[in-house]
């Protein structure tokens, strides 16, 4: 039998005093430190966590609470409600609801032009991270769109990596009898951009390097410049480059197909290379520029800064947030971040860095500056890209024509900055 004794007043006061001291002590400890909130796309979690761990080790008084999302647009909603993270993920350019120009235009981002690193942002990409000549985002990494070839499939078909668009169509003609020439996740909208951007980069932009500027001043348009890329897209379909099931496949299905040797080629951003290797560590994958032109000398590499780090104008911890961003910009930290994110390090972008997967063919284009900024980075609003993605799906489904799609893109472009 257990006898329960009532606690005496002395005991109650003692426990209360201990609790008060303990809670008070904890409060003092917390008050001495700073907690930052950070929100980013889930696919960057490994790179972020590694950088955060290093930063916190150097700055034990600063804690970073990171959260990740598959729907980065939700960050905009947090700005709306006044709950924006101190360090929000920000897209370069103007083509997204959380793009730097959209957020800076609304006064929601802190001007980072005074930071030491701001002067070292590559002049080739500075426009993507500025608004009215002020820098608002650190471009930590750069990605590009490339073609990934399964060497085993190429050998079984008896073909080499296509170097020109003519080679590519010939490869499709030859390979389609025995395999899927090119894996394609047409059920989702994002993968539609990869071959499309690569084709336009090597046609519209190869013929006129100032195409984006001309489009902004009205001298060029989707109708005047993108027709060839759309026609080539459909030529690929008509030559059997994609499987008849492509419209039902996700991007992940496509990655598994090329990794597992069910398809010969895949076109996508460099960030997907680790996933391909994860799905089949034994696969020999050859990385090469997508041959978007019949003349191999005109092939261009679509390239651009990936989502970067900004500081919310609503933040109460701006100094600490800027400190973290400055830490990310340190060359050794930046390179480690880029390695974990399978990207080119922002710190090395002008020095033609080694690529993830060590592709000499890609590096040659980087050295020769045969690159084109991701097309949407120069588009003036967030409506154009969805029209492009849905429009290409409709094109493949026979629900629209190239003419009609180009007009819709021009109409969306004409809406201007929003």
């Amino acid at each position: 039998m257990t006898v329960q004794r009532k606690p005496s007043w002395r005991q109650v006061i003692g426990v209360a005093a201990f609790a008060a001291v303990a809670i008070g002590g904890a409060s003092v400890a917390r008050a001495q430190g700073t907690t930052l909130t950070l929100m980013f796309l889930g696919s960057y979690q490994a790179a972020n966590e590694q950088a955060i761990a290093g930063f916190q080790k150097e700055n034990p008084d600063i804690t970073i609470k990171a959260s990740y999302t598959a729907e980065p647009q939700s960050i905009r909603a947090l700005f709306t409600t006044g709950n924006a993270p101190d360090i929000p993920m920000v897209y370069p350019g103007d083509g997204s609801a959380i793009a730097v120009k959209q957020l800076a235009r609304a006064g929601l981002l802190e001007d980072l032009s005074g930071e030491a690193w701001a002067k070292s942002v590559s002049p080739s990409f500075i426009q993507s991270v500025t608004f009215q000549d002020k820098v608002y985002v650190l471009p930590t990494g750069y990605s590009y769109i490339a073609m990934y070839a399964n060497d085993e499939v190429l050998k079984s078909v008896g073909a080499a990596v296509p170097r020109s668009f003519t080679d590519l169509l010939a490869f499709c003609d030859k390979a389609k009898a025995t395999t899927i020439p090119m894996a394609f996740g047409l059920k989702e909208q994002l993968p539609v951009l990869f071959p499309g951007y690569a084709l336009a980069a090597s046609t519209a932009f190869a013929d006129n390097a100032r195409f984006a500027e001309d489009q902004a001043t009205g001298k060029a348009s989707f109708t005047s410049g993108y027709r060839a890329s759309m026609e080539m897209y459909l030529q690929m379909r008509d030559h059997g480059c994609f499987s008849k099931d492509a419209s039902g496949n996700s991007n992940d299905d496509a990655l598994r197909q090329v990794a597992g040797g069910k398809a010969g080629l895949y076109v996508g951003v460099i960030n997907y290379l680790p996933l391909i290797m994860k799905y089949n560590p034994d696969a020999k994958i050859i990385q090469a520029p997508f041959p978007g032109n019949a003349d191999a000398a005109k092939v261009r590499l679509p390239l651009g800064p990936t989502p970067g780090y900004g500081v919310s104008a609503q933040s109460k911890n701006k100094a600490a947030a800027k400190k973290f961003i400055a830490y990310l910009q340190r060359p050794e930290v930046n390179r480690a971040w880029a390695l974990a994110a399978a990207q080119l390090a922002g710190a090395d972008i002008d020095a033609a860095p080694q690529t993830p997967g060590n592709s000499e063919a890609i590096r040659e284009l980087l050295v020769a500056k045969r690159t084109v900024l991701y097309l949407d980075r120069a588009w003036p609003n967030a409506r154009i890209q969805p029209v492009y993605m849905a429009g290409v799906q409709q094109l493949f489904a026979g629900q629209t024509t190239i003419e009609a799609l180009l007009k819709r893109l021009d109409d969306a472009y004409a809406l201007g900055a929003q």
Binding site: R76, T80, A246, G248, A382, T400, Q418
Partner: protein, 299 residues
Amino acid sequence: MTAVAPSPAGIRRALQVPWWFVALPLGLYGLVVIYPSLAGALYAFTDWSGIGAFRWIGLANFRAVMIDDEAVSSLGNTVVLALSTTLIQNMLGLSLALALNRRTRLNSVLRPLFLAPALLAPVVVGVIWQYIYSPEGALNAILSAVHLDALRRPWLGLADTAIWSVALTVVWQFVGITMVIYIAGLQAIAPELHEAAAIDGSGALRRFRDITLPLLAPAITVNVLLPFIGGLKLFDQILVMTAGGPGYATQTVALMIYRQAFTFGAFAYSTALAVVLTVLVAVAAMIQLAALRSREMPA
């Protein structure tokens, strides 16, 4: 002792609900439902982008909705989905109810089985069926197994099959609820009515048409109204299974509202779409309710 019958005025007084009795719940409802809804709807008359200041632009957003091809196509998809799911769900639900109405051991196992999908979250159902409809999924595998390879296709990737694939998924999930409501209706019909009609020589079809259907009218009202309203608001399954594609082939108004707000930052325009959807749901529900109630027999 003689009982005195209460006067009609006394009965009315006794049945009257005192105003203060409903004031608190009504006030709370107004505060947490009516006020936020109306306050939110006001943004439809502005150019608010979700952040920063805004200005009043009158009916401009509503005019834009009327001439927006994407909005019109989404509205078309929404109505097709709502009508088709309501129709198929009721036909199947009623058939199941008639088949499982009798109390047998087998039926007591089958009823919960048919109801089970309704307990799943729509997102989960969407994920499951996305795999079933995928090119290498169960549906195509079954077709191959029964030597119907010619029918294999990427069901969610083709514009002419995607919307029906989604509709069937919705029916699969909710047909159990329709069945349960019909079973409840069937069991409220006195068996004597059928027995008397049978003695008078009525066949099964005649009894179904003249006894079962009229007496099921209240259940039909509920079973038509709920799936139709649910169909007009379809979002989760579409987002998971097709994201509105291919192109805009399966985009519903609810999905477009989401995209306008969170992808494009066009909060005001999306609010205008939401107002249009609300009005559509309310009008459709009222018309249906009036039409179906008039068919119900007085208790």
